[in-house]
């Protein structure tokens, strides 16, 4: 079992290193962010990409000599580190990420080599060591069998933190971000936890810059426009006080869900009548994959054909993962919104 | 309407027969009293005649094999009044008595004035008119008996099977109930079989008696032939004295120990 894991690790690390070197080759071509339209995450951390490959090589050496021993012991002055109240005694080399967002962040800050397992839903980046661990119903034994020195989860159904804590495994809980700033904070936390503070800071500032650029490019048309973001096909929506809402707020869009959420739960279920009467300028739907929502079946909903967003073609699909993860790919989410704004006719015409 | 039972055997569990090859005959308009100690099979015999218990052997009404009759047709010939009838709380006496009309209605049909008239006449016969609108849950023991009997009468069947019609009644109520049943017989040509436990009354009301013990017929005939000191000692394990009364007999238990 152990040997199998080690083998897997070596293979994955080799794969990761290969990707890293690829990124190194690509990176110089993309040092100016957000130029090419079909952006991918590879363009996100351009400045860190070079470092990714170099540091990963060193971790590969460390890992192959043994997962539980750390060559960095005593060398890294940042450890033991206290992150969000969690004490991490030494620089982790065997991280289990049970959160798809954390997985994306860890890889983006060059800590991919320190990650030995990610949960089944962590499908990005492709080189992440996917396992059948469930982030919804974490199995303590399964997690512990990886002998992790750090576990990241996005929610604790009850006993993960205490159970793994009893085994001496630090657990970092990163609950869903409520805003973009929240997302940045979590990226920096992961930087601290993985001993990659600098890379995390660079990631955050590059995302900031890129978002500023996108908002500058598309920002103006947003003001005075209303939107409805559909979380699922039973008309649950996301209010402005959510991560999703904070993305739209960048462009000055007005959220029709806010008045339905006086208690600030963040995710009110809207009445169909209200949506029809409010007649938002833009409709974003974030449940194409899971609910099978399409622009066509939105238009077929009873009464919805009268909406100007339907008539004007302002129905925008937001990839399920983009709107439900608050990691480095939030740039893509921002870009999608910006492009949707640019694509629709000027405000006066609808 | 006559009843003929031949070789009737019934068992609730295989190998444990409750009735063993019982035979009997009751002529039209006759009243047969079924006697026997507890567990002798009186109730089971009544239910078997009513077609409610599966059995071997033949039951015929006016020569027609009961097994060949649809349940609804059979229910128009035989009315069965159980020992402890279920009376749903909240139901009025009239509603309850009208249930007796069920075999006269089609599956999804409903009552007609003719059915109401039958129920009314049954209520009248049993002196229940004053209770017609009462909740059955609020009736006294005697009133419950009469109400249950009224449902049986409303069924307008030629054969009336009564299981312990005086059960749980005091001496006055019991006597009254049997007087009522006797008066019904004067009004209508109804054949009756009643399971009875009160041997003081059993010797005076039915025309004929049949003594069951352990699922078998052990004696049959007029009261004076069935209610004898020997039979009662053998099958009830009781020491009694037989008193002749009113052209019938009454059984009086005798104390055995010294005073």
């Amino acid at each position: 079992m152990r040997i199998k894991h080690l083998l897997l690790l070596v293979v994955l690390l080799a794969f990761g290193a290969a990707c890293g070197s690829q990124a190194e080759e690509i990176a110089p071509a993309e040092t100016v962010p957000a130029e090419t339209a079909p952006a991918t995450a590879q363009s996100a951390p351009p400045t860190t990409a070079a470092e990714v490959s170099t540091t990963e090589v060193s971790t590969t050496e460390v890992s192959t000599t043994g997962v539980s021993t750390t060559a960095a012991e005593g060398e890294d002055p940042e450890f033991p580190a206290t992150v969000n109240g969690v004490v991490i005694p030494e620089k982790p080399t065997a991280i289990v990420s049970m959160s798809p967002t954390a997985t994306e962040v860890l890889f983006a800050i060059g800590a991919g080599g320190q990650v030995i397992a990610v949960d089944a839903a962590s499908d990005y980046p492709p080189e992440a060591p996917v396992t059948d661990l469930s982030g919804f119903q974490p199995n303590l034994e399964a997690v512990a069998s990886y002998r992790p020195d750090l576990v990241v989860i996005s929610w604790d159904p009850g006993e993960v933190e205490a159970g793994l804590g009893a085994l001496g495994i630090p657990v970092l809980i990163q609950t869903p971000a409520q805003s973009i700033e929240d997302a940045y904070l979590q990226m920096l936390q992961l930087g601290d936890a993985a001993g990659r503070r600098t890379e995390a800071e660079e990631l955050v500032s590059s995302i900031r810059e890129e978002i500023e650029g996108l908002v500058g490019e598309y920002g103006a048309p947003g003001s005075g426009l209303t939107y409805y973001h559909e979380v699922d096909d039973t008309l649950f929506s996301a209010a402005s006080n959510t991560f999703i809402g904070s993305v739209y707020a960048l462009f000055g869009l007005e959220n029709i869900a806010d008045s339905a959420d006086p208690l600030g739960s963040g995710y009110p279920q809207l009445s169909a009548e209200y949506i029809l009467e409010t007649d938002p300028h833009l409709i974003f739907f974030g449940c194409a994959l899971w609910c099978g929502t399409t622009a066509e079946n939105i238009a077929e909903r009873p009464g919805w054909s009268t909406l100007r967003a339907v008539a004007g073609g302002a129905l925008v699909e937001v990839d399920d993962d983009l709107s439900s993860r608050w990691g480095p790919r939030l740039i893509e989410f921002v870009r999608l919104v910006g492009e949707a704004l640019a694509a629709r006719p000027p405000a006066g015409e609808q | 309407m006559s009843v003929v039972v031949e070789n009737l055997t019934a068992a609730y569990r295989p190998g444990r027969p409750v009735l063993r090859e019982v035979g009997l005959q009751v002529d039209t308009g006759e009243w047969l009293g079924l006697l026997g100690p507890n567990g002798a099979g009186k109730s089971t015999l009544l239910k078997a005649i009513a077609g409610l218990v599966s059995h071997n052997g033949a039951v015929a009404f006016d020569g027609v094999d009961s097994a060949s009759l649809p349940a609804r047709v059979r229910a128009r010939m035989v009315a069965f009044v159980p020992q402890e009838p279920t009376m749903p709380p909240g139901m009025t006496v009239t509603e309850y008595v009208l249930l007796g009309r069920t075999p006269h209605l089609s599956y999804l049909g409903s009552e007609t004035p003719r059915d109401l008239a039958a129920a009314r006449s049954a209520l009248e016969l049993l002196d229940l008119r004053g209770l017609a609108g009462r909740d059955v849950a609020g009736l006294s023991g005697g009133e419950r008996r009469r109400t249950a009997l009224a449902r049986g009468l409303a069924q307008e069947a030629g054969i009336l099977l009564l299981d312990e019609p005086t059960g749980a009644l005091d001496i006055g109520q019991g006597q009254n109930a049997l007087e009522m049943i006797g008066s019904v017989r004067r009004e209508r040509p109804v054949t009756m079989i009643t399971a009875m436990h009160d041997l003081a009354l059993a010797g005076q009301f039915p025309d004929r008696l049949l003594l069951l013990a352990d699922g078998r017929t052990v004696a049959e005939g007029p009261a004076s032939a069935v209610l004898t000191v020997d039979y009662i000692r053998d099958f009830y394990q009781a020491a009694v004295e037989i008193v002749e009364v009113n052209g019938g007999v009454a059984v009086v238990p005798l104390r055995q120990g010294t005073r």
Partner: protein, 344 residues
């Protein structure tokens, strides 16, 4: 002729006075449901639109809201409420158990399992299969509940309810297992389980109408037999009624009614229990009145509950099951306090 309380045929016939009151309540609820809503439609215009068949000054949007969202929702609420109450009243009669409600016997869990199996195992299935699958699961659950209850000792309230609890737990476990094995369908299944009247249009009304027509007719026709059944199986048999056949027929139609309602609206609690109980308090225990009046009252109740679900937190929606449980649970406790004799 007759004196005092009902002693004539009117005692065993549908009590039209109460039926009229129930129909009046239904009409009033429907009108309120149509006129009131999150979108501020002018009531006079709405009524004009309904009466005039579309020749009014309502805007296109408001017209769409009225005809395509509000109206089908009111009709659907009425159908679902009616079916659940009808099924509840019938179950109570046929099991001679005033605590029997469609969900207590595992119908909901069975229906949920049936629908989940279709969604999880046959992703390409026609959505119109859902009611059928829900029906199959529901029927299996009821049959199992009944069999288990019998084996535990007859049809007493306790053994039946315990059997229902056990069967519901078993079916729910199977459903959860299916969901875990097919995690990608969880969302779709949950939206069905927690489903409500909110995203529905005429399509779901069309699915439900045939079931409502068949089950409604069948159960209303069986109401006299439910009275006969109230004296127990043996006595019902002695009256020439085949209690097994009547029970079979009523269980099939009541289960079909519940499954159809559940399949388009999800699990709406307490309607099938509270409405027949309340109606029984007012119109008496005879199922001749209880069954049809419960159906009409249940329709009115659910339309009103849905009105609350739509408007209480407007423009947000509350799950209607939450509203019915919120009203139903305390109300039911009050009803139980006053009707202990029926439960004993």
């Amino acid at each position: 002729m007759t004196t005092g309380p009902p002693s004539g045929l009117e005692a065993v016939r549908l009590r039209w006075g109460w039926m009229g009151a129930a129909l009046g309540l239904l009409a009033a609820s429907a009108l309120a449901g149509i006129v009131i809503g999150p979108a501020g439609l002018d009531p006079r215009q709405v009524i004009g639109e309904l009466v005039g068949g579309g020749q009014t000054s309502l805007s296109e949007t408001h017209r769409a809201i009225l005809w395509e969202i509000r109206l089908p929702r009111v009709v659907l609420g009425g159908l679902v409420g009616g079916l659940l109450s009808l099924a509840g009243a019938s179950y109570q009669g046929i099991f001679r158990n005033p605590l029997a409600d469609p969900y207590l016997l595992g119908v909901a869990a069975g229906g949920g399992l049936g629908a989940t199996a279709v969604i999880a195992l046959i992703p390409s299935a026609d959505p119109r299969l859902l009611p059928l699958a829900a029906f199959a699961g529901a029927l299996a659950a009821v049959v199992l509940t009944y069999a288990v209850g019998r084996s535990m000792g007859g049809r007493s309230a306790v053994s039946l309810i315990l059997a229902g609890v056990a069967v519901a737990a078993f079916f729910t476990a199977l459903q959860t297992f299916l969901l875990q094995r097919n995690a990608d369908t969880i969302r779709q299944v949950y939206s069905w389980i927690l489903g409500q009247l909110s995203t529905t249009g005429w399509g779901e009304v069309a699915i439900l109408v045939p079931y409502a027509a068949v089950c409604g007719t069948a159960l209303v026709l069986h109401r006299r037999l439910l009275d006969v059944m109230s004296v127990g199986d043996e006595e019902a048999d002695s009256l020439g009624v085949s209690s097994a056949r009547v029970r079979g027929a009523v269980v099939v139609f009541a289960t079909l009614a519940t499954a159809a309602a559940v399949s388009v609206s999800g699990l709406i609690a307490f309607v099938g229990l509270v409405v027949p109980h309340t109606v029984r308090l007012v119109v008496g225990v005879s199922y001749r009145s209880l069954v049809p009046i419960s159906a009409v009252t249940g329709a009115a109740f659910l339309i009103l509950a849905d009105l609350a679900a739509r408007t209480a937190a407007s423009p947000a929606e509350l799950p209607i099951g939450v509203v019915t449980a919120f009203i139903g649970a305390p109300f039911f406790m009050a009803v139980l306090r006053t009707t202990r004799r029926y439960v004993a």
